[in-house]
Symmetry: C3
Subunit: 138 residues, 3 copies
């Protein structure tokens, strides 16, 4: 009876290993000033859909700062490889309200190369500070 006959992985089940963690804190005012001073920064960081709330209104500086923190957290969890595009990592709201990462292109490739299949994300902001944490699972 060979190992290949078993209907399961002999070692580690897929999608169960914590391969990375990322945290980022962003001062909202500093981020907001940077957005104002650098004309194309907003569009370079965020795709059009990311800049709007589900109700279609422009996101607050605090909400954008938290989403920027999410992108930075993902980059850190990946080891900050070169060539990541900001638009390839976006935050969207899942059906249950949880913020979810939507990765594509450069970020999806870097994640796949490391065996990362799933991301867990949480965002927070209060009194001028935005923060994000991600857990990369493979």
């Amino acid at each position: 009876m060979t190992r290949a006959s078993y209907p399961f992985q002999p070692s580690v089940p897929d999608g169960r290993q914590v391969l990375g963690v990322g945290i980022d804190v962003v001062a909202v005012q500093r981020f907001s000033i940077a957005l104002q001073r650098t004309p194309h920064l907003l569009s370079r960081l965020f795709a059009p859909a990311e800049r709007l709330t589900p109700a279609g209104r422009p996101r607050s500086a605090a909400s954008l700062a938290a989403r920027f923190a999410a992108k930075e957290s993902v980059a850190k969890a990946l080891g900050v490889p070169s060539g990541l595009e900001w638009h390839d990592c976006a935050v969207q709201s899942a059906a249950d309200g949880r913020p979810e990462l939507q990765i594509a292109g450069t970020v999806a490739e870097a994640a796949a190369a490391q065996g990362i299949s799933t991301w867990r994300l949480s965002l927070s902001h209060d009194a001028g500070l935005a923060a994000a944490v991600v857990v990369a699972i493979g």
Copy 2:
């Protein structure tokens, strides 16, 4: 020889999957002012035992803010379902000193519905900021 005869789970062992993560940052002064201005907020957020240190003294604003951040982190890790009661998620000190979550009622039901069996929690505060992070494991 059927699969049922194996004394182990063929796919994913129980209690090993990271099902959610939550982070929350709370400005201690803002939280403290809210507690002062809203008479019943303290008792609505915290059960009597939570408001006291192990030595029986009232907790500081920073300590309460960190515990509030823990409750918020848990709610986020669960996807902020409606109907969660603040008292159904409390922080207690484990024998080894680690803060532990004690969940019950509405929070325990939401966790069970998502297959979450274990929580890991950490708290921090410094210079006016309190923070909590939780990892939900199933």
Copy 3:
């Protein structure tokens, strides 16, 4: 055919369980003042190699504060057992740029006693706040 003949673990694969999480936030200015006021604090907290950047320059207060937050996060994830030495937990840069924990002595013993075999770490600082998060895996 006995269980011992299978080339895999029957229950939980090694290194896959999240055994702890730690977060720490540090106000950089407060930390910097403490370093200035307490002459031997810097050398008590950090080994000589930790105080320098890869380029050999002294680390900034923010960078040291983030590394102090990492040490505190590890201590929290371990349940703050007594007897941990600051030098037994250091942050070094991995080949891919990710910060990695290098643990030894007292910290390695406490981790081993809890079945922890791997750590994931992330650091951040902005506008006067440094933060670290760790996940302990066993």
